[in-house]
């Protein structure tokens, strides 16, 4: 079984299904797949989602980034997207450094406070990662840039709710504070997902395949969304090279 859509198209579709009509949803820096997913959701089931795409003036109602920052800080942001060099079982992510000794890291990354704040402020956060590997999904991140859950006496408006990769979707079990396998994306198998994940995914015996992208989803993504991204100068090069190229003529 071959897919006739790319990993990026698959992930954009899976993301679009998570978006709720009427909420305020934002994607951050270098978040092409979430941007496409948001625009797709608006074409489908969420015509009244308020979309903010950081870095694309066409999808930024505010003049200054601090107005966006404060909107989130007030708890008004419904959905945000983060990635991470490492993600662990507790939903912690690492955008700072890799290596066993924090004082002498092997590699440094830009880190950043903004995304960390948003992980606590957005009602729901979706972690997206195109690489599903034991290097990306680890038992314990080398550095906690933002924590998946917090003690109950901490002011926090939301938590990660899903992890979306080309192989699978995990969901956050907030009772246990752990990520668990929710579905897998054929032709990947549960075994393959388990094999490529560096932490225990919970009881996977009844996990089902996610519904494949529909023709409607793929059609809108490859036409309306692709065109919209190019027209509005929203990652236009990415849209040209990643959306619609596997289309069967």
């Amino acid at each position: 079984m071959e897919r006739d859509y790319s990993n990026e198209e698959l992930m954009a579709v899976l993301i679009s299904r998570e978006v709720r009509n009427g909420e305020i949803a934002a994607s951050g820096a270098l978040s092409m797949i979430p941007a496409a997913g948001l625009l797709l959701a608006r074409e489908l089931h969420a015509p009244n989602v308020e979309i903010m795409i950081l870095g694309s003036p066409a999808f930024m109602p505010f003049k200054t980034s601090r107005q966006f920052h404060f909107l989130a800080h007030r708890g008004e942001l419904g959905l945000f997207f983060v990635s991470g060099v490492q993600i662990d079982r507790q939903g912690n992510y690492n955008l700072h450094m890799v290596g066993e000794d924090q004082d002498h890291p092997k590699v440094r990354f830009p880190g950043g406070y903004g995304g960390g704040m948003l992980y606590y402020a957005a009602r729901r956060s979706i972690i997206f990662r195109t690489e599903h590997s034991r290097r990306a999904f680890v038992e314990k991140v080398d550095f906690i840039s933002a924590a998946g859950t917090s003690p109950p006496d901490t002011l926090r408006y939301g938590n990660p709710c899903k992890v979306i990769t080309p192989l699978a979707t995990m969901h956050m079990d907030l009772q246990e504070g752990l990520l668990k396998l929710e579905s897998y994306n054929p032709p990947a198998t549960v075994a393959e997902v388990v094999e490529n994940t560096g932490f225990d995914l919970g009881d996977v015996s009844s996990v089902q395949a996610a519904p494949a992208p529909t023709e409607e989803e793929l059609g809108l993504l490859r036409d309306a969304v692709r065109r919209k991204m190019i027209e509005t100068d929203t990652y236009p090069d990415w849209a040209r090279s990643h959306l619609g190229n596997l289309r069967i003529a």
């Binding site: 003036p57 840039s145 924590a147 859950t149 006496d153 901490t154």
Partner: protein, 188 residues
């Protein structure tokens, strides 16, 4: 924290950071109960008030008002900092708040304006010139090791004798018009 500094609050409560390794390494942030609601805790961040802020902008006038381009947050930095130095592409006679194309920094926030065309190079300055991709690639390549970065610094910084020298040596010739080469200082 720069936002607290900009509003003159000695500290501010902020979301996030709880449970992170970042928080462990910062003595300017700590977990603190809400005085009105002590069973709820947040991080509080200490105000950050830099002695100096230095940044590049598009345009200033002779009174020290600055137009700092679309949608940026230099205003926050200028407010928080005790002294503000702005390098600009262009100095005009008068710049009113209404005609400033981007964020308007009134001269009351600005200490010194330096006329330095191409002052953002190798980064770009919207409405004036784009990022110099070739120069950026050179930087990225040479920044990879301490040795090559030392050589980069020597070539692009330590050996440079003046702003004009930098512009002549590093700014693409086709970008340089009659605007280049000025070097005036105006006190706001």
């Amino acid at each position: 924290m720069i936002q607290a500094g900009s509003v003159g609050a000695p500290y501010v409560p902020v979301l996030g950071l709880v449970g992170t390794d970042l928080l462990k390494r910062r003595d300017d942030m700590k977990i603190c109960p809400d005085p009105f609601n002590p069973e709820v805790k947040t991080v509080v961040a200490k105000a950050y008030r830099p002695d100096f802020a230095i940044f590049h902008a598009q345009k200033a006038d002779r009174r020290g008002n600055v137009s700092a381009g679309w949608t940026n947050d230099d205003t926050l930095l200028a407010e928080a900092s005790r002294h503000v130095i702005v390098t600009v592409e262009e100095v005009v006679d008068e710049l009113a708040a209404a005609e400033a194309k981007g964020s308007f920094l009134p001269s009351i926030l600005v200490d010194t304006v330096v006329h330095a065309p191409f002052g953002a190079h190798p980064a770009g300055c919207p409405d004036y010139y784009p990022v110099d991709d070739a120069a950026m690639k050179t930087y990225a390549r040479q920044a990879a090791s301490d040795e090559s970065f030392a050589a980069y610094l020597e070539e692009t910084t330590y050996s440079v004798t003046s702003h004009e020298d930098y512009v002549a040596r590093f700014v693409p010739a086709e970008w340089r018009g009659e605007g280049a080469g000025g070097d005036e200082r105006d006190s706001a």
